[in-house]
């Protein structure tokens, strides 16, 4: 099956049914391996055991932005190419992105209290991620408010592309402004500054979280295709009842 074949919702459903069990199993295995590595990793020389929060905070934060990136590509698919699965993909990603952003905010807050002495600070990084979370909630509200999925898709696509401006602001906020949040220590010019004993578990958890997103996204897309079939059949049923 070629990639272009997946543009057909029926073929996509068959593909999703086939790969989802394997993806779910791979996610579970990698998550278990990652957690074993996390709890075998040494404490940080400054932060002590609280560094363990990093292993869920950082992958969630990366995914909060990555998911918006996926939605932005899907938005282009909706607006430019009117790809049949583009708005299905965008809609399915929203609650998952919101959940990862929520995890990033809460775990960051729980990490901040013992390290910074505060749960929250209105600095550029924290505030821009909070804005990202509110944008996710806004998109969820929009998808629920508009009855016609194709109309909702166009509005959501425009908002998603405008909201993508926030992604570089989040990424570079720690460089552009004086923030309490530390600067990038993994994805930076000059290479990571984290010791390999902490970096390896972090990267395993990042891959595990990415697989988790892929699994949940495929499953949510499958559900959205079924939901649209239900909607079509209900409309047919209503028109048959009127005739």
């Amino acid at each position: 099956m070629s990639l272009i074949d997946l543009a057909n919702p029926s073929r996509f459903l068959k593909f999703a049914e086939r790969v989802l069990p394997w993806l779910a199993a791979a996610t579970a295995v990698l998550m278990l391996v990652g957690l074993q590595q996390v709890f075998a990793a040494p404490d940080d020389y400054q932060q002590g055991a609280t560094v363990k929060i990093m292993f869920i905070h950082v992958p969630s934060a990366w995914l909060s932005m990555f998911v918006w990136g996926v939605m932005s590509l899907a938005a282009l698919g909706t607006l430019v190419w009117r790809h049949p699965l583009a708005d299905v993909s965008a809609k399915a990603a929203v609650p998952i992105g919101a959940a990862f952003t929520f995890i990033a905010l809460v775990t960051g807050s729980l990490w901040g209290r013992p390290m910074w002495g505060t749960y929250w600070e209105w600095d550029a990084r924290l505030t821009s991620v909070l804005i990202l979370f509110l944008m996710y909630l806004g998109l969820m509200a929009l998808w629920r408010a508009v009855d016609d999925p194709s109309r909702a898709a166009r509005a959501a696509a425009i908002i998603t592309l405008v909201g993508a401006i926030n992604l570089p602001i989040i990424k570079f906020s720690v460089d552009w402004w004086n923030t309490l949040h530390q600067p990038a220590s993994v994805l930076r010019i000059g290479g990571p500054t984290i010791h390999p004993s902490l970096l390896v578990p972090l990267l395993i958890m990042a891959v595990a979280f990415s697989l988790l997103f892929l699994t949940l996204h495929l499953a949510a897309m499958r559900n959205e295709i079924l939901r649209r079939r239900v909607r079509t059949l209900r409309l047919l049923q209503a028109s048959a009842a009127r005739a």
Partner: protein, 58 residues
């Protein structure tokens, strides 16, 4: 392995993350079952999509 004096924060972070991820999994699985059940009921009621394959029309 000891989590030290900040164990509460570490355990709370992992517990909240696990709860949210579990919630996502439950939502996806429950939504799938609900949509399948509704589709099944509609098909029993005789409703078929025009683009549905012929084999499934019987």
């Amino acid at each position: 392995m000891t989590l030290g004096q900040h164990a509460t924060f570490i355990i709370a972070a992992y517990a909240i993350a696990a709860t949210v991820v579990a919630g996502l999994i439950v939502w996806v699985v429950a939504d799938y079952r609900r949509q399948r059940a509704i589709l099944h009921d509609l098909e029993i009621a005789g409703m078929k999509r025009r683009s549905a394959p012929q084999a499934s029309r019987s």
